[in-house]
Each structure stands twice: as structure tokens, then as C-alpha cells.
């Protein structure tokens, strides 16, 4: 089992880096183009959700655990505490998308807010693929 971790400033301008890393890892594991795209999308929307949700978010952490054909990734906002008053409506879209393109998602809750996502993506096509 291999592990990869990435810490980024929780700023919109670095989400492209998060996406490319996700794609590079899935590509290395021999995932299909569709599965690479799914993982990239899920990781990006998890990051988007957290950036949009907290007013005091500074860092985003991505921990990848790689086993054979499976990638587990945790996306976290480790020290974020204060949820924004107005939740952006895109957050619902993020949640929909994450659930649809992955095999399994768990939400790490903190004081009633989602502060992290544990995502499982397998290489053989997601269970919920059309």
C-alpha cells in the first residue's frame, strides 16, 4: 500500500494543482480515462465544497492511499472551524457530483459541518456509472 499526501493553500487558484495531482495518480494506477476524470472531479468538488463552506480555511490536505485498483482519498480542511453564514448554492451541486462519480463517500463531520470527505474510487468503473 502506497501513500501520497499533498497540502495546498485553500485558495481557488490552487485547485488546478489538486486536479492535476489526482489525475496523475489515477493515471499512474492505469485507471481508464473515464475513471481518471471521475477521481479528478470528485477531488476538485471536495476541495470546492470546503473552500466555499468555511470562512477560516487556510489549508487543504489530500491523503491518497493506494491499493491495487483502488484509490482512497481523504480531502480535509484540518483547522477550519467557522462555517460561513450563507452557504453557496453550488455546495449542493458539489455533494451531488461527488456522490455520483465515486464508489463510496464518507463525510467527516465537525460541529455540524462537513470538514472532510473520505472517497473511494476503484479503477474498474464507478458503481454508479451510467
Amino acid at each position: 500500500m502506497d501513500e501520497i499526501s499533498i497540502k495546498l493553500p485553500a485558495k481557488p487558484e490552487y485547485m488546478s494543482v489538486a486536479r492535476l495531482t489526482a489525475a496523475a495518480i489515477a493515471n499512474r494506477l492505469g485507471f481508464s480515462i473515464d475513471d481518471i476524470e471521475d477521481l479528478k472531479v470528485a477531488v476538485a468538488e471536495a476541495g470546492n465544497y470546503l473552500i466555499n463552506h468555511f470562512s477560516d480555511i487556510f489549508m487543504l490536505e489530500f491523503h491518497y492511499r493506494i491499493e491495487d485498483e483502488r484509490i482512497h482519498v481523504r480531502v480535509m480542511a484540518p483547522n477550519a472551524e467557522t462555517a460561513k453564514e450563507h452557504q453557496s448554492r453550488e455546495s449542493e451541486l458539489s455533494l451531488f457530483i461527488i456522490e455520483s462519480v465515486t464508489d463510496q463517500v464518507e463525510k467527516d463531520m465537525y460541529q455540524g459541518s462537513i470538514r472532510g470527505f473520505s472517497i473511494l474510487k476503484t479503477g474498474g468503473g464507478s458503481l454508479k456509472h451510467e
Binding site: 481557488p12 487558484e13 485547485m15 488546478s16 486536479r19 476538485a44 468538488e45 473552500i51 451541486l93 455520483s100
Partner: protein, 105 residues
Amino acid sequence: MNIRQIWSDQNNTWHISLAGEIDIYNAPELKNNLLKLVEQNKGDIQIDCSDLKYIDSTGLGVLISALRRVKDYNGTIMIKNLQPYIYKIFTITGLDKVFTIEVQE
């Protein structure tokens, strides 16, 4: 992200082409652009997405928000030449029902 637009008086339509990646970083720029266009000419919008490689929830939000403005004057937004893997994001979110979409062959 790259945005180009041409106004057609003939069919009262903005022909827009969107290329590259639209995400949480550049979606605000897209929003400003679209709002300026519909202020300038209250017409329909056709968006050509042949070269669109990625759009995230933030980008979708911008399209929804533009649609709301356009509907205020009974206009329409049509999305053309969407790549199948991006169309998937529209179906997941139910937005395939909200926009008129043509997928790329």
C-alpha cells in the same frame, strides 16, 4: 479558460465559445463576462463547448445564474457540442433538464 463572443443581429443571439477549464478560480470572470453581454444585448445565448475541457460546480452555478437573467426577458440559453464526459456532469446535477444541450458526436 478562454471566452470569445460574437453578437448576431440577425437572430438576436450571442454566439459564445468557451474553451479550456472553468473552475472555482476563473468562474467569477466568466460570470462578469456573461452578465456584461446580456446587459449589452438582451438576446438568446448559444454557447459552443467544443473546446471546453472541464467545468466544475462553480462554473455550473454561473450558467444557472446567467440563465436566470436571460429568462427575465424570455431569452434562452443553448449549450452546443458538449463533450460526453462533461455532459455527464450536467445530467448528474439535473441541469440537462434546465438547459437545452447538444452533445458532441
